[in-house]
């Protein structure tokens, strides 16, 4: 089982990358949230496996933390939010899906070329996955730019966090515990605040479209 660990980690890494691409090409919000949850599951699996392979208990703790937060609580809250705000229609994008895919591939290539010299130096068993993590971060960054609705933008932000946590766990076998807790706490509070904001934006503009958030500018 230990021998298989590096390949398994790479498998999970590619799975996360695949899910990021899926999120970019997704049109409906509900499936978008489900893919985000699946990405969380992959992340949890990777950290449990790594914890088992390197006998580090705090990886289990961080995996559990991610499981509770990113797989159970946040998707549940987003689903409840969508039902309350009856946001059903599909995701509007600023540029059409094929071009986003092309740009996505370009980003992945850039991320890999960037991370190649670094990953060779890392002697943890999943060194290679740094490139993939950086790719996930850039992809979710691009997703936030191209989405014109509040909910997809929030999901983009959260999937960026996923990418970062994945980088932390694989490249350096997890951050010190205190830092893990801090990050998790920040993400949780962040999501709560975003939820509150969405209610207020909805109540103020009776739509979640970012276009009416453009009044503050230079004439």
């Amino acid at each position: 089982m230990i021998a298989l660990a590096p390949q398994l980690i790479n498998l999970f890494a590619t799975l996360i990358l695949l899910l990021s691409f899926a999120m970019i090409s997704q049109r409906r919000i509900v499936s978008l949230i489900n893919i985000f949850a699946m990405q969380g599951v992959a992340l949890v699996a990777a950290s449990f496996l790594l914890g088992y392979a390197t006998h580090q208990t705090d990886l289990y703790v961080s995996g559990a933390l991610t499981l509770v937060l990113k797989v159970i609580f946040i998707p549940w809250m987003l689903h409840r939010l969508i039902r309350r705000l009856n946001v059903r229609w599909d995701v509007e994008t600023l540029i059409n899906i094929p071009t986003t895919m092309l740009v996505g591939i370009g980003l992945v290539i850039f991320a890999f070329s960037l991370a190649l010299p670094v990953s060779r130096l890392s002697h943890s068993i999943a060194g290679g996955s740094l490139g993939i993590a950086l790719a996930c971060v850039l992809l979710s960054f691009m997703m936030m730019i191209t989405r014109s609705k509040a909910v997809p933008q929030v999901i983009g932000f959260l999937s960026m966090e996923n990418g970062l946590i994945f980088a932390a766990t694989t490249v350096t076998n997890g951050m010190p515990m205190i830092v893990e807790f801090g990050i998790a706490l920040d993400v949780l509070v962040g999501v709560l605040i975003l939820g509150v904001f969405m209610f207020q934006i909805r109540e103020k503009f009776d739509s979640l479209d970012i276009h009416n958030l453009e009044t503050l500018k230079e004439e």
């Binding site: 600023l94 850039f110 960037l114 960054f141 691009m142 936030m144 730019i145 191209t146 014109s148 933008q153 970012i210 276009h211 958030l213 453009e214 009044t215 503050l216 500018k217 230079e218 004439e219």
Partner: protein
Amino acid sequence: MHSFTHPGNWLHLDWVLVVVCAWLVIGCAGVAALRRFHFVATVLFPVGACFSVLLMALALSATFAGAEVAVLPLGLPQLPFHLRLDSLSAFFLLLIGGVSAGVSTFAAGYFRKGEGTPPGLICLEYHVFLASIALVVLADDAYVFMVVWETMAFSSFFLVMANHRIPEIRRAGYLYMLVAHIGALGILLCFGLLQANTGDYTFANMRAQHLTPFWGSVAFCLAVFGFGAKAGLLPLHAWLPEAHPAAPSPFSALMSGVMLKIALYGILRVGFDLLQTRIWWWGVLLMAVGLATALFGVVFSTVQVEMKRLLAYSSIENIGLICAGMGLAMLFASHGMQAFSALALTAAMYHMISHAFFKSLLFCSTGAVLHATGERSLGKLGGLIRYMPWVAWPTLIGVLSCAGLPPFGGFVAEWLLLQSFLFTTGLPGAFLDMLVPVMAAMIALIAALSGYTMVKYFGVIFLGQPRDDKLAQAHDAGAWERLGMVWLVTGCVLLGLFPNQMIALIDPLTQLLVHAGLAHTVAENGWLLVPVHMDRASYAPTIFLLGVMATFGATYLLVRKLYHARMRRVPPWDCGHPWQTARMQDSAEGFGQPIRQIFEPFFRMDRHLPTAFDSEPSYKVQVDDPLWHWLYLPVVRLVERVSKVVGLLQQGRIAVYLMYSFVTLIVVLLVVQR
């Protein structure tokens, strides 16, 4: 900081610092008694004047003493305040003390109740202004120079904004502050070059540096730009005719009389003292700029209709003449002709101090007229000599001195300047020999034109019939105002009649800057002012005045004795036209009309001529500054266009902002990877 020894053997510098601190204390006392107008006017200002007189005395004794240096604990840790009192700064302290004594006493009588800013606040700004001016001439390193230089601009800005209810005054204040700051940035750049990468910003170190001709020229041009902005040299003069009339009169007197000189002090300090390399075309540049400014200033002052703007443009003219003198001195110095350079420099210094006195006198008189009649424009004044003799006669002396007429200081300065322009045949290079006589011709023309302006100024205000019947109630100047004006008049007269003694005071300065002086040759000839040699040229103002007075007295008595002195008052000759009104006299525009016609290309005129069908025909001519449309407005439009383009950066769409962040990340990563 040397220990506080017994006051007996304090240096002059310490006493000057005592005077500066005293001024600051008076300023604070003014703030304490913010609204108590009587206490501020009759106690604080006169005490300030006494300290000015003390400063003058100190400067007199310091001119002949050696240079004194002091280091104050204030300032940056690595760069404490260095101060130095050498003969150059002593001369300027003399100028500051003399003029501010007169102006402070005048200001004591100048305030009236319930006018704009509370008098206490004005007292604070005034005395901070005086203190910073005195410190500028003492500064001996770049940091303290910049600090006191901008404090001077800062405090005079608040003086200009004294009655800020009027929108034009706010606009003038803004323009003044902006040009002053841009000038200061230029000066800072110049000091940056002068320290030549040694990192030590004291003037002593700057003197030791030998810059290459290129960097030396860049430093000099920056200095002329920076200090020229403050002095009102041609391209950067637009603020002066706006700011000086806006300030209350005693302070515009001080600004015109003293602050413009401090700007020229800067050029002297950098051009002659700090920069060791000297290149001939620097002098030519200064002369060209000076003369262009002078001609521009005098032509514009002739066509003004508002008395304080007229004096402001006349200040520009005099600054131009002084700059031309300094330029000539630099030209001679660069060719090693020290004696002639000393002559030109003495001429410039003489013009500086006489202009300080007579221009302050004229501004004080406009202040008195303004207070008596409440009227600024020349068109509504006239015949005030009957109601305000105590203001009219001193102003006459100021007018004669400003026009450069013989018995007074203005003429001596002009005489010396023309003499220095005559001895140019020794200069190598045919081009220079050609250039300088033409410059001499322009100086003569400018002096004559200033005579024209002054006749217009005095004639339209004080002589003739009052153009407005409310002028009859114009009350004469108060006691303090008279004392202030008398002090300034004595200054003008002494400068006019005793040039030898004044040149003896200027001599240490020229020895310091160009290592030559006139004192030796002048002292030999007793009453005669002989700059170079007896049969070369000589002028004795006292004998001259005695001659005119003697003939005046003799004819007066002879006519009385031989014939009689009967006189009868009759209505003036009306050429058969009974309805002679005061409006038939020349108005201010009328008197300036010939100049407007001759120097047409100088102005940007828009004239409103009444047509035949006007119900009430009116004639209006508006003369304004062409540079405003060629230089200032294009710069403002350029800045607006650039900021419109930059404004596009902030369009409000969050996706675009995210794009900025994303693109920056990618770009920086690529840059770093390479």
